[in-house]
């Protein structure tokens, strides 16, 4: 991100110094103003969803659902022991529901554990599964669309689900083919 930012800023500002020097500062300020508006909207969106998700978490539903994920996890990740499977199942389940506050620490634990066991295949699989994000409900996107004037903010739910399935299946298959067990 540092390289991208440096290139874009230097080229843009450099170019504008010759073409429209008076617009540089106003362009930067207007970008910041847009960020302020977006932040206000995001605070509202996150408040609602994090409130609801907290209830979900406190009901202990994540733990229960992760038990369902246990068997598929063992199948996909190959030869992993019980404690690794537990972390992985929790990570995958939380990612699917959209609880990233639970998913990330579990993912970190799983990665550290697999690292210690020298299980490179399962590590690569964890990367692919986490980075292709199987998510059941894109809550932030729905709320943001709603806020920005969409009359049918749910239209994207099914296409998103299909498309995230495509990426996750690709990720799992490519890892199974190209990474040594």
């Amino acid at each position: 991100m540092n390289v991208i930012f440096a290139c874009i800023l230097i080229v843009s500002v450099g170019y504008m110094t010759f073409t429209a020097p008076e617009l540089i500062l106003s362009a930067m300020t207007s970008g910041a103003e847009k960020a302020l508006k977006l932040a206000a909207g995001l605070t509202a969106i996150y408040s609602v969803w994090l409130g609801i998700f907290e209830l979900l978490e406190r009901s202990g539903l994540t733990e229960k659902l992760s038990k369902l994920a246990y068997k598929p996890v063992k199948r996909i990740f190959g030869n992993v022991d019980d404690s690794a499977a537990k972390y992985l199942a929790l990570n995958v389940t939380a990612n699917i529901i959209g609880l990233s506050s639970v998913a990330t620490p579990m993912g970190i634990k799983a990665a550290a554990y697999l690292d210690e066991k020298d299980n490179e295949y399962a590590k690569a699989m964890l990367f692919a599964v986490a980075a292709t994000s199987l998510q059941i409900l894109p809550t932030t996107v729905i709320s943001l669309r709603d806020k920005l004037g969409s009359v049918s903010s749910y239209d994207i739910v099914l296409p998103t689900l299909l498309s995230t399935l495509v990426s996750t299946v690709c990720g799992i298959l490519l890892t199974a083919v190209f990474v040594k067990r």
Partner: protein
């Protein structure tokens, strides 16, 4: 589809009530995390939006789009989505900013707006996963997983622009 969210909220609330979770305290507990989260991502969102604005006004954005649009065009990806596709693997908060820009510019229900929503919702910040999940690992053989994830994400992006045409 419009019943999904109401039913979900209802179901979660009822399950929580049955499990004797204190609903008010629980909800407030979740809301407490919202503001810190926004505060955490705010500097990134702001910086990326400044970057976008400068890029737009200087004309750099137009040049990059024109150069890359034939390549993306082969895969059916409209040039209006190039920025989002390029930013997404690097920055979650940055791409959220780009998504919001795209939705306001082209309309949330337009073809471009729907594509952008699906692409954002179905992909993940690849390099973030690499940095955060595997930060503490001693062995970092991440080149292959990164390539695999980027390829998979690109395939699903191509799929997304196609599926938005027919759905």
């Amino acid at each position: 589809m419009k019943y999904v969210i109401p039913l979900l909220i209802l179901a979660i609330t009822i399950v929580a009530a049955v499990k004797k979770v204190p609903l008010y305290d629980g909800f407030v507990g979740g809301v407490k995390k919202a503001f810190p989260l926004v505060v955490k991502i705010f500097p990134y969102v702001l910086t990326v939006l400044i970057m976008c604005e400068v890029m737009e006004q200087s004309g750099l954005s137009g040049i990059i789009t024109n150069v890359l649009s034939p390549v993306f065009g082969i895969f059916g990806i409209p040039k209006e989505l190039i920025k989002l596709v390029l930013v997404k693997p690097f920055s979650g908060s940055g791409s959220l900013a780009v998504l919001s820009e795209t939705l306001s510019t082209f309309g949330a229900d337009s073809y471009i707006g729907r594509c952008a929503s699906v692409i954002f919702g179905s992909s993940e910040t690849t390099f973030y996963v690499g940095a955060v999940y595997f930060a503490s690992c001693k062995k970092k053989n991440l080149v292959k997983p990164i390539i695999i994830s980027l390829v998979s994400t690109f395939i699903s992006t191509v799929f997304a622009v196609f599926i938005c045409k027919i759905m």
